[in-house]
Symmetry: C2
Subunit: 173 residues, 2 copies
């Protein structure tokens, strides 16, 4: 009955280089195994998304891409996003029109997201109890569940009870 946490809230001083390196290494491995191509553009977009633990908007990605690659245009970033979504390497946050890295891309799933309204940090769950209760309630109405969008807004632990000296204005570490 334990909550299955895919991506927890990170402490401000965690080693974020590891988050990014791990995510990219895992993506490389997974794409190689599946015989799909993590091209430079796709890899770079994934890296930009993983720069923080907060959702990133498509046109922000585009701005950053254009700084390095003059030819970048909306299709450039949307194609990369489509690929990454397809491969389960990122998720889309519907209520924000934004995208965030998946902490467990190896097995396909739809995440459940906790979104901090103050610092914009996001934690991802993939919790069976949640799936179960929703499927049960849906089943009572004769509804057959195929996918879920679950996005919870509120305050993360740091913003809820900030300790002195703790930064709360950003999730980019």
């Amino acid at each position: 009955m334990a909550t299955s946490v895919v991506t927890p809230f990170k402490h401000a001083d965690h080693d974020h280089g590891h988050c990014v390196d791990d995510a990219l290494a895992q993506a490389e491995r997974q794409c190689r195994q599946r015989g799909v191509r993590l091209t430079p553009i796709r890899r770079r977009v994934l890296e930009l998304i993983w720069n923080g633990h907060a959702p990133v908007k498509a046109y922000d990605l585009l701005d950053r891409l254009r700084a390095e690659r003059r030819s970048a245009a909306p299709p450039t970033v949307y194609r990369a996003l489509d690929f990454l979504l397809e491969e389960g390497l990122i998720h889309r946050i519907e209520s924000l029109n934004a995208y965030i890295g998946c902490g467990s891309p190896a097995h396909p799933h739809v995440g459940q997201f906790l979104i901090c309204e103050q610092c914009h940090a996001v934690a991802e769950l993939d919790d069976n109890d949640v799936h179960r209760v929703l499927s049960a309630k849906a089943g009572e109405l004769g509804f057959l569940v195929s996918s879920q969008t679950i996005e919870i807004n509120g305050l993360c632990p740091l913003c809820r009870d900030p300790s002195p000296g703790t930064a709360t204005g950003s999730a980019s570490g």
Copy 2:
């Protein structure tokens, strides 16, 4: 522990005139009580949304409004939608960029939606068990919930097991 159903899936032959009349009468009453103005535009937008039990897009509303009121423009419909959302008379479906009437506007709440991928019918729940399990899981991570977006996709009873002669291509009745 019963599921609290705000708006169930409707049978194809239900008396939809009642749905609309009840919703408008309830809205009139509620706005009068609160001292806010259900102006003709706002009332008409609410009526257009209630024309079916499926989500309606803002620019579809705009098209229909413009047919009756040449001056209608995007702000016309978005202002009406803002008002109706504020008063709890409608909900926004984030995953569809669309809006649907609320079956229980009297007390403020965030709905949980079951969305049929085939006929686009929507049922609304406001279920305490769902709230409870999500709040509990969030609480385990120290997260304080303030609002939720819960949108479940799948097949409604009619589309899941269509009987002969039963229409399944529309939710507009």
